[in-house]
């Protein structure tokens, strides 16, 4: 519920910084509306956006923790309660072809990672459909290298244009396998705006991509302007000698995530 009501300070700051740099009058109007919108949502405990997302949960489970009962059921119960009691929109269909709305936004997507220790870290990142639809996995060639990654990201953002509700946040996964690279791109979106990759090489690529995206001219809501993206985050993983998976996961400006440690 909190992730859907309260936009992070990092995103609010990014809107304010963007306002100073935006050249388009329409773009400035939109950024001001987003700031007002976040304030209303926070003051009144109502969702920032009517698309309250797919409940994507990152569960880091300490190997020394003993959980009585089924933790996935417990997470779904939390989602059911949060989306029902919090007046959040239920957007999940039970079967992709034959289904009906499940009525309580379950089931959640749960990514479980076993980690050392005696704690459970749960991060909930409700993900909107409009921006998710503009995301893509590409199995490239190792010869593509970092320049190929950059070109793919720029091309993906350009083709997305207005649809993912810019200013966007761009998550990029490089390496691993077909399914793992998509997970990396999603995980990248959990970072706060302005948080750079610890490896200076990838930190520089993130900065360069952000600058290039903000020269595309797409602007807030795609109506033309400077501020197309708030940030770009890269996550990497070792890869097979034959493969070069790259994934781009796009988030709208409602870059929501909330973490609790038990």
């Amino acid at each position: 519920m909190e992730a859907n009501y309260y936009l992070g300070d990092d995103v609010i700051k990014a809107f304010k910084d963007g306002l100073k740099r935006e050249e388009s009058a329409t773009g400035k109007d939109i950024l001001n509306q987003l700031l007002q919108n976040a304030e209303i949502a926070k003051q009144e405990d109502i969702p920032i956006c009517q698309d309250c997302g797919f409940a994507v949960v990152f569960l880091d489970l300490g190997t020394e923790v003993y959980v009585k009962g089924n933790i996935i059921d417990a997470i779904n119960e939390g989602v059911r309660k949060g989306y029902t009691e919090g007046y959040l929109r239920k957007s999940i269909v039970s079967d992709p072809i034959k289904g009906k709305n499940t009525g309580d936004n379950t089931p959640a997507i749960v990514h479980t990672t076993l980690v050392p220790g005696d704690k459970i870290k749960i991060t909930v990142a409700p993900k909107g459909g409009g921006s998710e639809n503009m995301s893509e996995v590409r199995m490239g060639k190792p010869a593509d290298g970092i320049e190929g990654v950059k070109d793919f990201v720029i091309d993906r953002v350009l083709r997305s244009s207005a649809n993912p509700c810019p200013p966007i946040v761009v998550g990029v996964g490089i390496g691993g396998t077909f399914e793992y690279v998509a997970f990396l791109a999603k995980k990248a979106l959990l970072r706060n705006i302005g948080e750079r990759h610890p490896d200076p090489f990838y930190a520089d690529v993130e900065t360069e991509l952000l600058q290039r995206i903000n020269k595309l001219g797409i602007g807030p809501m795609g109506l033309g302007g400077r501020i197309t993206a708030l940030d770009v985050f890269i996550e990497t993983h070792p890869r097979h000698i034959a493969s070069f998976p790259v994934a781009v996961n796009i988030n709208c400006h409602v870059a929501r995530h909330k973490t609790a440690i038990i």
């Binding site: 009058a25 109502i46 001219g217 809501m221 109506l223």
Partner: protein, 184 residues
């Protein structure tokens, strides 16, 4: 903000032809929500030549599926959804007299062509500004397809709903022009 045009549906050809891409418009009056699921049903009825549950003549459709209404509120947060999902059905609805659409994101060539043919406009609202937009909605009534939940057709009474003309009836496309203007 530049000059603001005020519009009150139903809209005439004359109203539509006054609008150019980039114009700021404040809409007051009745509009209807419909997403792609409701569009599919309207489209199928229109194809069979049957009567639609709402009269589209001169009217405006808002691509939106609001969040649930909190007690004491008129409506839950209700921002625009991606318009492109309605594109396959839109030319048929324009032929039925639909004059305006409010949403977010780019439209297909077929829709843009049909807007010129039938004289209609596409307005962009601010995606994600759902809490703010809900303050411009003064009354709401479900008028069709209640079984679709958030996707049901709702009649909204709006006041000064701020939108921008993204596609006009002359073939103008702000999404293309905007990028041309600000590309470095």
């Amino acid at each position: 903000m530049a000059d603001v045009t005020r519009m009150k549906p139903p809209l005439s050809d004359e109203d539509i032809l006054k609008l150019k891409i980039g114009d700021s418009v404040l809409i007051t009056g009745k509009i209807y929500t419909a997403r792609d699921a409701a569009h599919k049903r309207l489209f199928e009825l229109a194809q069979k030549g049957e009567k639609l549950p709402i009269d589209l003549k001169g009217n405006v459709i808002y691509y939106a599926g609001p969040a649930p209404t909190k007690p004491g509120y008129i409506i839950g947060p209700a921002g625009p959804t991606t318009s492109g999902r309605c594109d396959p059905y839109t030319p048929t609805l324009l032929a039925q007299g639909l004059k305006g659409m409010i949403g977010k994101g780019v439209r297909s060539k077929e829709v843009r062509d049909a807007m010129q043919e039938y004289k209609a406009v596409y307005f962009a609202a601010t995606g994600g500004a759902a809490a703010l937009i809900s303050k411009n909605i003064k009354a709401v009534k479900i008028v069709a397809y209640e079984d679709l939940g958030p996707e049901a057709i709702r009649e909204l009474e709006v006041e000064n709903f701020p939108v921008i003309v993204a596609n006009d009836a002359f073939g103008g496309d702000l999404y293309q022009e905007g990028i041309k203007k600000y590309k470095r």
